[in-house]
């Protein structure tokens, strides 16, 4: 029972942290406000784009992840790490990178034009989906790759020696278990999309719920409306979560001793093509950012390095807090609860917490914990998605052995489970850190002049016409985020016999 409490309590905390603030905003706003036709359109568009973005991301991720799982080549680890970069890019930077490649004056049109081919127009609903796939394909690939790596290599040997169809025997059951969850997380992330949809959506047709909330809050100060829309978001996120949990049934494949085993199936050429295409798609916009950013490095103001330091500290704080919450939450109920956190508007969440704490303490005095908390809530869903595969596997494979040896509670985790979780923990810690690093939310907290962090500095430079310096700052940000990600992710793999 005590064990169950360990996971139930954090789940209740997470649910409370999400529902409480929404209720507070609703209460302050004087109850629900009826949604207009425009709001209904926004809901429809939001769901539509999130569905297609998530579907295309996971469908494309399957062959890419498989190719990465079964091919060894020099630089594979580095490629996997760098390909993860889009997921941790600040939206505005990523959009400008995408435009440099796919935009009207971008690389692709520069090639298409002289060939007499029709021009590519990135702006519109397809542009939104393209950008979301760009952002989320890395996450989908990593989640699914994690699934592949969780299949013990012995199973592949057995199947190969039997001449059995690998896909149906080993890979399909794994995919059935992993893909719905990956889809749900990406779907929910895309539900909250705002700046991407706006910039690449081409106009008001691409209005999302998040934008409607922003407008209700910023211009109308209609808190009832904002809360009503947040409830819609919650409902959508919850549905996605429940559907994913229902679909994601299937047995763990169990563990073996995981010796690296070469595989002989599949076409090398085809795998190379998949890896190549994915790398090109994900890295070309990054390349454009590097090209744009290098000249800007010389223009960076002195304060940028202190800002970088502050960002790193914040990222490390987020990692510690997220991991502490994520391990006990790595259960089905925990994962469902965590989806609440990311599905609801960060704006409403923050406003709600503000309203709740205001009568008791100065909001400013709890700014750090609250902002970190919002960040952690946003990170939890994909951290849990990553960890659960490993935790379930570790429990299935070694739970009984651990129990027969009298290992319990923390000792069981420390000796039996955590070492098996090094890879997923390193990966998710890296993601959390990099995301917190690139997140503007944590940053404004310190935004007295001269106290800002890196993404804020970048945004401010942009707002002051200093585009070149801003690109330089973006480059520093991407570099630091990637380094942080790499350190954690690598730390999870060094010496890990799993």
């Amino acid at each position: 029972m005590a064990h169950r409490l360990v996971s139930i309590i954090p789940a209740l905390i997470v649910a409370g942290l999400v529902i409480g603030p929404v209720a507070a905003v609703l209460w302050r706003g004087g109850g629900f406000t009826a949604l207009s036709d425009a709001d209904a359109d926004a809901v429809a568009f939001t769901v539509w784009q999130a569905f297609w973005s998530a579907l295309i991301s996971v469908v494309l991720a399957v062959p890419v992840a498989r190719a990465l799982a079964r091919r060894q080549f020099p630089g594979r680890g580095a490629l996997i790490a760098v390909m993860g970069a889009p997921f941790i890019l600040p939206v505005i930077v990523a959009v400008l990178g995408l435009v440099a490649v796919f935009g009207g004056r971008g690389v692709i049109n520069a090639v298409l034009g002289p060939l007499g081919l029709p021009r590519l127009d990135i702006y519109g609903a397809h542009g939104v989906i393209l950008a979301h796939v760009f952002f989320n394909l890395p996450l989908a690939v990593r989640l699914i790759l994690q699934g592949w790596l969780s299949i013990p290599s012995e199973r592949f040997q057995v199947a190969a020696s039997l001449g059995a169809p690998l896909f149906w025997l080993l890979e399909w059951p794994m995919l059935k278990r992993i893909v719905p969850g990956a889809f749900a997380v990406i779907f929910v992330i895309c539900l909250g999309s705002f700046a991407v949809a706006l910039t690449l959506g081409g106009g008001p047709r691409a209005t999302t719920v998040e934008l409607a909330i922003y407008q209700a809050f910023k211009f109308d100060f209609d808190l009832g409306k904002a809360a009503s829309l947040a409830v819609v978001q919650l409902a959508l996120g919850l549905c996605a979560g429940l559907v994913a949990l229902l679909l994601a049934r299937g047995d763990m494949l169990g563990a073996g001793l995981d010796r690296v085993v070469q595989r002989w199936d599949g076409s090398r050429v085809l795998d190379a093509v998949w890896i190549g295409l994915a790398a090109l798609f994900l890295l070309a916009p990054l390349g454009a950012l590097v090209v744009a950013g290098v000249p800007g490095l010389a223009l960076l103001p002195e304060g940028i390095w202190a800002a970088t330091g502050r960002s790193v500290m914040i990222a490390l704080g987020a990692v510690v807090l997220t991991m502490a919450l994520a391990l006990p939450l790595a259960t089905k109920a925990g994962e469902a609860a965590s989806l609440l956190g990311i599905s609801v508007s960060g704006l409403v969440l923050g406003t709600g917490i503000f309203l709740i704490v205001q009568p008791y303490v100065r909001p400013a005095s709890v700014a750090l914990p609250v902002t970190l908390l919002v960040n952690v809530l946003m990170s939890l869903p994909f951290v849990l998605r990553i960890l659960r595969t490993g935790v379930d596997g570790a429990k299935a494979d070694y739970g009984r052995l651990g129990a027969s040896l009298g290992l319990r509670g923390w000792a069981l985790w420390r000796i039996a489970y955590l070492p098996r979780l090094r890879r997923p923990m390193g990966f998710s810690a890296g993601l959390t850190g990099a995301l917190a690093m690139g997140d503007l939310g944590v940053i404004t907290l310190f935004s007295r002049p001269g106290q800002g962090t890196l993404p804020l500095a970048m945004y401010e430079l942009m707002g002051r016409y200093q585009m070149d310096a801003a690109y330089g700052a973006a480059l520093v940000l991407v570099g630091t985020s990637l380094a942080l990600f790499w350190v954690f992710d690598r730390g999870g793999r060094v010496n890990a016999d799993v």
């Binding site: 010796r259 009984r400 129990a403 027969s404 290992l407 319990r408 000796i415 016999d497």
Partner: protein
């Protein structure tokens, strides 16, 4: 004496009933068709499969509701016996202390036991660096070091070659002398080789133990569909 009093174990929608005694200090084999419930019986004794009826008595104490770690039982699983991320030393030391950095005294005892199972000098290796037979010995060393009166063996050596399997069975029984050993096997020859008694398992029910020689020459009537006498 390990006594099943109207006991029933349930795994999913499968139920296995047992109502008999296993004599302490001997070796008892469990034989039956696959899927009949041999593993359910052992995992029921170990506490991994919930007991839904009756009592399970050891030394006059009902252990039916006790969690696995509080039962007088050590177990050798069919596979996943070793933590792949821990060294041989660490894996075996877990029998004595829940620590990955055991103290000097524990290390000595582990080395001693490793020597007894024929693994001198291998304590720093990880499982992936051992042969299948060596891995079995590590698991055996740990089960022995746990020093519990009942040792359950869920076909831990089934992946080994016949000669190696026989060697491991002999080693297990000789080192576990004085303990109550319950082992699953699908090979009557194994039972004939080391077991004092045999429990036949038919789908849903475990039969009372019968002396090995009797079982092999005159099997219980319920077993005759599955098992022809020697």
């Amino acid at each position: 004496m390990l006594t099943f009093e109207g006991a029933a174990f349930r795994q999913g929608d499968f139920t296995l009933e047992a109502d008999f005694e296993i004599v302490a200090g001997g070796v008892t084999a469990v034989i039956g068709p696959s899927g009949a419930g041999k593993s359910t019986l052992l995992h029921g004794i170990a506490g991994f499969v919930p007991q839904v009826a009756g009592r399970l008595m050891w030394d006059g104490r009902n252990i039916a509701a006790a969690p696995p770690q509080d039962r007088p039982v050590s177990m050798l699983f069919q596979d996943n016996n070793l933590f792949p991320h821990l060294t041989v030393m660490q894996n075996v030391a877990l029998a004595l202390v829940p620590k990955v950095r055991p103290g000097r005294e524990v290390q000595d005892r582990v080395e001693d036991m490793l020597a007894r199972v024929g693994l001198q000098g291998l304590s720093a290796r990880k499982p992936a660096g051992l042969s299948g037979g060596q891995q079995s010995r590590v698991a055996l060393a740990r089960a022995l070091l746990q020093d519990r009166p009942v040792m359950l063996m869920d076909e831990p050596f089934s992946a080994l070659g016949p000669a190696l399997k026989d060697e491991m069975l002999d080693l297990s029984v000789s080192l576990a002398k004085g303990r109550t050993v319950v082992m699953i096997t699908h090979d009557p020859a194994d039972a004939g080789r080391i077991a004092d008694a045999v429990i036949g398992v038919v789908p849903g029910r475990a039969l009372s133990p019968v002396a090995t020689q009797t079982f092999l020459t005159d099997p219980p009537v319920e077993m005759r569909d599955y098992f022809s006498p020697l």
